[in-house]
Symmetry: C2
Subunit: 182 residues, 2 copies
């Protein structure tokens, strides 16, 4: 259960020392005060390309990075959460939207920022949506109305392109980064 920790002392340093722990073969961040080893691993982002009557749901970011730019509803997978369930949660949190997952669209491996993105194909269960706390605005765009010049991240464009490539195909092989992607 939650409780309040005592305020950190002036000499507290956290996992701030880089070394290879015994029995390991990679450098990790270790706390010089308590010996805690901070095993960091790549993070999983789950998200979806969400359709409603041939239009695409996009969110204008209310947070950094890329504040003011348009993105898919997506975010970090949480502990003990399934990947499709996480994509549904993010659609709810960022766009107050209920979605049905239709299948996996793409996996983007972005080692430079230690991220793996799992992007689903999905559709709204109804026409209701609204900006969540991390969005300035949420809107539906026809393909030709998409604000291509104001997309937040390269993978947003990749996912939209891959969605279009998938079309009505059911047995669609999940796509990965474009060759010239990164």
């Amino acid at each position: 259960m939650a409780s309040t920790p005592t305020a950190p002392g002036p000499s507290a340093r956290g996992p701030s020392v880089t070394l290879i722990p015994e029995g390991d073969n990679r450098e990790r961040q270790v706390c010089p005060d308590c010996g805690f080893i901070n095993y960091e691993n790549p993070k999983i982002v789950v998200g979806s390309v969400v359709l409603w009557q041939d239009r695409f749901l996009l969110c204008r970011r209310a947070i950094n990075p890329r504040l003011g730019f348009w993105t898919l509803p997506a975010g970090y997978l949480e502990l003990n959460e399934g990947t499709a369930e996480g994509a549904q949660r993010e659609a709810w949190e960022e766009a107050q939207a209920r979605i049905t997952i239709d299948g996996l669209l793409a996996i983007y491996s972005i080692p430079g920022i230690s991220q793996v993105q799992l992007i689903y194909r999905a559709h709204l269960t109804g026409p209701e949506f609204a900006a969540g706390p991390e969005s300035q605005e949420v809107a539906l765009f026809g393909w030709d109305e998409i604000p291509w010049g104001e997309l937040a991240f390269p993978s947003v464009k990749w996912a939209l392109d891959h969605f279009r490539e998938a079309g009505a195909t059911q047995d669609f092989a999940a796509r990965s980064n474009p060759i010239d992607g990164l």
Copy 2:
């Protein structure tokens, strides 16, 4: 650069207090001494079903859990590592095998242990392999010779079944957990 931390004092506690940090909406483990917040996220396992002349490469585990049981070459993705690259590294570490990745076979979402597994189709680049430090033994098995009763994890069977289902199909939609999987 690596350096040795001082030995932890007797009162050092590490991230041992459960609370919801300010601005967050989930409980995290926080260190009461230095305030370090240990943001834990699900981990990514990368691995592959590796074929050589219609036979499957399996490794008998030399470590817990499931010591002595057979598994695919697979393990945790590391920071700044691509997913296919990670699968190749694991094949080298566990089976001293060089592999070519042929495509994504499956994504298994296992929220109970906060794990997402990305399993590739692959083949050996040559007939050389050997037990790495985490394997007691590495061997090739025809489909009917696979030690089905001695597989280490449910997802090893899922992946072998999905590999067979994929056959020679190139545009194969990545499979996920069987309905009765977990």
